[in-house]
Symmetry: C2
Subunit: 253 residues, 2 copies
């Protein structure tokens, strides 16, 4: 299964969800690959790597100077590998925009290694440019983290419309789920957003909800996923439950 974690709204918990769900599936014994498709390289630093000294990145893979398996790094989490990213990737949007089949580059690059992994998780940048289009085309399932606040909720219908457009234009099939993040049950805003998203999107919304927890925000400063840094924390437990729920997702499409 290839899952892309995307949302053009910034700061909704894409990287935190990608890193922790990938780590959780790895801890369940599934061989897992995390692909950092964001020039910011947050998933790369979130797993403890130095962006300045990477032997190869996803940029080399997309520009076809490296095979995917030549850019993979083993991480401190058993069963979890990473194809890292850094600012080199920032030029890809423009450089690759005239390449033939530019939206299929990632799907083709992963085709050879897909068989070696049970699960591949792709962390996307906060936009719907060429990099995110590549992730959409390469995926079976899309995970949309929505922070329990107004702007992330308000942007959801537009994001879904764009996804539909991509489906018909690029003749590709994918299913999607919404994951509510940074939920704070003490605020009326959080509760209202949870209710409204559940009402409007029904069975697309995962039962698991990720609570706001400062431990999750501290974990990247230690170069570890939250579920490794503080395994018993509620948000860690919920990310393990989200990984289980995703793996057992019956297709809805």
């Amino acid at each position: 299964m290839i899952v892309s974690v995307l949302n053009n709204k910034g700061g909704t918990g894409k990287t935190t969800s990608a890193v922790n769900i990938a780590a959780a599936t790895a801890q369940r014994g599934k061989k897992t690959l995390l692909v950092d498709l964001d020039p910011q390289g947050n998933a790369t630093t979130g797993l403890g790597f130095e962006k300045a000294t990477l032997p190869a990145t996803i940029y080399n893979v997309l520009s076809q100077t490296r095979r995917a398996d030549e850019a993979m790094l083993g991480t401190k989490v058993e069963n979890l590998w990473l194809i890292p990213s850094n600012l080199d990737l920032a030029g890809a949007e423009v450089e690759l925009s005239s390449a033939p089949g530019r939206e299929y580059l990632l799907r083709e690059a992963l085709a050879t290694s897909k068989g070696n992994y049970d699960t591949i998780v792709i962390d996307c940048p906060p936009n719907i440019g060429l990099l995110t289009l590549n992730a959409l085309v390469a995926s079976d399932l899309l995970l949309i983290p929505v922070q329990c606040e107004y702007y992330p909720m308000e942007g959801l219908p537009t994001l879904l419309k764009v996804m539909d457009l991509v489906k018909s234009r690029l003749k590709t099939e994918f299913d999607y789920r919404i994951l509510l993040t940074m939920y704070d049950r003490r605020t009326a805003l959080s509760r209202r957003v949870l209710e409204q998203v559940r009402t409007n999107f029904d069975e697309r919304v995962m039962k698991t909800v990720i609570p706001r927890s400062v431990r999750m925000a501290e974990a990247p400063s230690k170069g570890q996923p939250g579920i490794v840094f503080r395994p018993k924390n509620t948000a860690s437990e919920q990310y393990r439950s989200a990984a289980r729920e995703l793996l057992e997702t019956p297709p809805l499409a």
Copy 2:
């Protein structure tokens, strides 16, 4: 003065800062224009407008089918005008990338109306693409909101490097300030980030710090800036102080 609010890191408080600082300068009697340069159109909905029924947007201005003064809307805040945005702008990155002088389109479009306003504030999307480059070139001052967490702090040096590159390549001059946002004095992470950013960036960091406050996050659901929705809230007071501090910024460049 033309101020751009930018940071490629998502969710650090760009829109919230742009909307509230623009509203605060308007409340001090300065004629202020807010430009929404993000296809998400969050500043547009944050001021109570419907993105689907806009007569004209910044997209029309950049593609030169409307003058800037033809796209301006009066807002419910006295002295505050808006050039709105919606998803039409999403195509601009690609459409305008081959236009001659593509980085100067916004500067030229604002040149005729610059004289009618005391302050112009530009809200940028979470990336450093063509739209943000246009904002850099059009501005005298850059405001970089940095949420008091690890990933936003970690990305700051790279963002400043890219800004320097733009300065030399596009032969343009700008000064910058860093505004710490969503500060939560109860967490060690927030305090650590505040100390580290102040140590590394010294006089570039604004004295004003914006605290985390759920009222700020609720305000957009009412179509109002936080400083209008809950004027006496601490975060509102701090945004008024940030506007004062910015207006009185002696150049450092």
